[in-house]
Amino acid sequence: MDDLHKRLPLSPAAFSILLALKDGEKHGYAILRAVSEQSDEAVKLLPGTLYNLLKRMLDQGWIEELEERPDPALDDERRRYYRLTGLGETVASLEAERLAELVRTARKRGLLTSQGEI
């Protein structure tokens, strides 16, 4: 676990990708769209950054590639699908907790006016 803490904080783009894959396996373009939608278009990924991060996450075992496409008949064969691994989920959880702690601190100091529960 200590080793994983050393990987934090994640960049917004990396955390967004892990969040997008928490919903289930996705191909590259679907990840781009999910990242954009879940952040109200605040985080916009482009292919270069996306695949740099995907490669790094594959190398670190945070995500894995599916051996079969979910629906090959309806899909472009060049597409590859990725899903979150247990390790990737743990990293995403640790980052979420870190961010939550920051938000709690911001609230204590009166910087957060919304009533959302953290």
Binding site: G28, Y29, L46, P47, G48, T49, N52, K55, R78, R79
Partner: protein, 350 residues
Amino acid sequence: MSLPLLDFSDQMCRLLLQAYPGAFRERFAGEMAQVFRSLGRETYRRSGSGAVVRLWLSAFWDLAWAVVYQWWVTLVRQRRENMQTNPIAPRDRIEPLSAGQAAIAALPFLAFGISSLVSKLGLIPLGPDGLPLWQVLFVDPYLVFNWLVLIGLGAGILAGFPRWAYSYLGWALLFGWWWSDMRFYGYWLGWTIWLPLLGVFLVALLIRRSLQPLRAMVNGIWHDWTLLSLGVYILYGHVYMLYDENHHPYLLAFIAATTLAASLGAWGYFRSAYPLRRILALVGGLLLATGLSMTSYATWDYRAYYGLPESGQNDLLVGFVFFAALALLMFGNGLLARWRLSRGSRLKET
């Protein structure tokens, strides 16, 4: 305008993808081109051709930065990580022998020096002629040394030809070559001096019932070319330890010191992991042996002893030049050996 713009955009993207390192490109380029194509078409559908041009302005820098990053990962970071996880495994490394195994490899040097000492001491009186051959074979110090070397070589073959066995092989070959043209105690053995060596190989291989030791022997030489320098070292080490025709008052001390120097060089050779360090061990041993030999001749007038006329030749200079030439030859061999090992490892990796 729209479709040609999108086609041009796709082509530009594919062109940029060619700039990625090979492994990354093979793995991700097709997928990235497909994502970019989808992104371009979606952008055009939602916001028109102006948005595609704006997308391109961002995507160009994004791809350019990503290419630089991947090259950095490939060339620098990966190399650094490899060094951190395996800091002593460069390509030219050969696993060195343990201190004990290196001592076994250095043993023939020590044994030859002792034979030379015993021979000079004249502890075993052998007449010039007349002894039966079988007695000579087991009494002459150098021939006894040869039997020891052959026993060691046989053990090495039985053990699958470990690295220390090359020392025994080198000494056995030197001995055969040296004695095949020598007459001793009235006997001239000629080519038959090779028979015991041949016999050792045959018997050991028959016991093993395998040619694996032979293959290991040849592969070992092919893998590590510094073994050729070891052969040269054995040749000149033997010459220096012999002190032939030398009657210096402190001859025995010179033989003992030279034996230790040559044995130490051999021990260092087998303890070193890298070609140039192995060569350095040999050259160091040879330098000490040369220095001792030159000192002995500088402090004992062999011309006066043998009644030879004075000569204008500077023996010290000749000795030094000879050593320098030999050291250069060995270092050249070391560089070739390093190149050979690196090349072999690269081929294995691919």
